[in-house]
Symmetry: C2
Subunit: 247 residues, 2 copies
Amino acid sequence: MRIIDLREVSLPISRYADPSAPSGGLNTSMLALITNVIRDGKPVVGYGFASIGRFAQSGLIRERFAPRLLAASEADLTDDAGTNLDPFRAWRVMMTNEKPGGHGERCVAVGALDMALWDAAAKIARLPLYRLLMDRMGTPQRDAPRRVSVYAGGGYYYPSDDIARLSDEVRCFRDLGYRRAKIKIGSAPLAQDLKRIDAAARLLDGPGNVAVDAIYAYTAATSLAVADALAPRGLWWFEDICDQPLL
Amino acid sequence: MRIIDLREVSLPISRYADPSAPSGGLNTSMLALITNVIRDGKPVVGYGFASIGRFAQSGLIRERFAPRLLAASEADLTDDAGTNLDPFRAWRVMMTNEKPGGHGERCVAVGALDMALWDAAAKIARLPLYRLLMDRMGTPQRDAPRRVSVYAGGGYYYPSDDIARLSDEVRCFRDLGYRRAKIKIGSAPLAQDLKRIDAAARLLDGPGNVAVDAIYAYTAATSLAVADALAPRGLWWFEDICDQPLL
């Protein structure tokens, strides 16, 4: 079992829900990991992408991580039985001779490849990915209901009618079956952000189902004050608060 | 005043002092930043490189940072008088639409370009770089002796005769005029690392002129014990100790 090709393309992507908002030339890497395993007359292909509001990682993928995977021996990429890709072993191949650190850029490149590896492994195993992950990772309760908790991420600022359009977006999440969502805060005055949070919370059965992401908008000085203001609501979580050391 | 071209090449480089040691395919980016300023009939060119034991950043430079610099207006790149590049303004151009984070990879790409920008600015100003930096950054004592403290970085492990060859290397630093050096620790038992430190300290007038770099070799559990063992020597500093949260 081998990876016979890794194809990456960089595609434009909007950073915001509203395509009229400036997206800063944002792009993302889409990946196809092509194996030599044949199913229904066609090779199994794992797909991955990287979209966390950072840019495509064409360079890192082509310069370091794809060449290492393509040059790896079968034993370094597959499980002991040789019947499937082992994403953990493949991860070790990718990270050979890498220094610690590399946050923000390298993790996007490796993460997109990791997603493609797991997608291919699930297809080869003929299992949904959540089942393969449960089999590989183990769970404390093997007889527990086989469910995976998911949430919808979005809730960026709209250039106009922000609260109404955010509400439409969260209503759309809810109609798709999501019970929880993460929205953005930190780029408006706190009073306005609290209105955003309350609008989402009303549609999602309370603030305990709403997480907020500040994308590092706060300073060391404002972070704790905002946390204090949010605390009474009991939000699901508060993410990417500040990129400075707290005072 | 404009940057008319940015040329980057990826060159192989040894991670170790001894070229017989495996270097893990390490490479580095060399950069030439070509301006439209003519001196002695030739364009002023600033040079930069990235060598901190991480890989070349051809992808990030070509995909994001060089295009932004080449597309920038003159006002965004030059000082108010328009007579020289302003590396701080150029830095803002490079970081447009970049998220916080990106440690390890992006900082190598931006750092190499930053070095080339300062090199070009010093040449355009017809000043040594240390003078230009002092003029731009200000110093608390304008009449202080115009000196810059430097050190030699090296002292990697040798595959054989480690202490003797490390001593030769530090002696070479000293003969070149360096009074301080940084050497590597963390990949040998502590007793052996203390011998390395003592060998360097003897040649550099004491351990206060020796810094050590563990390249994150220690765990959360061993970091503090090693720090305690090093403390009595009063080393210059102890760098890149651990990549885990301390307990």
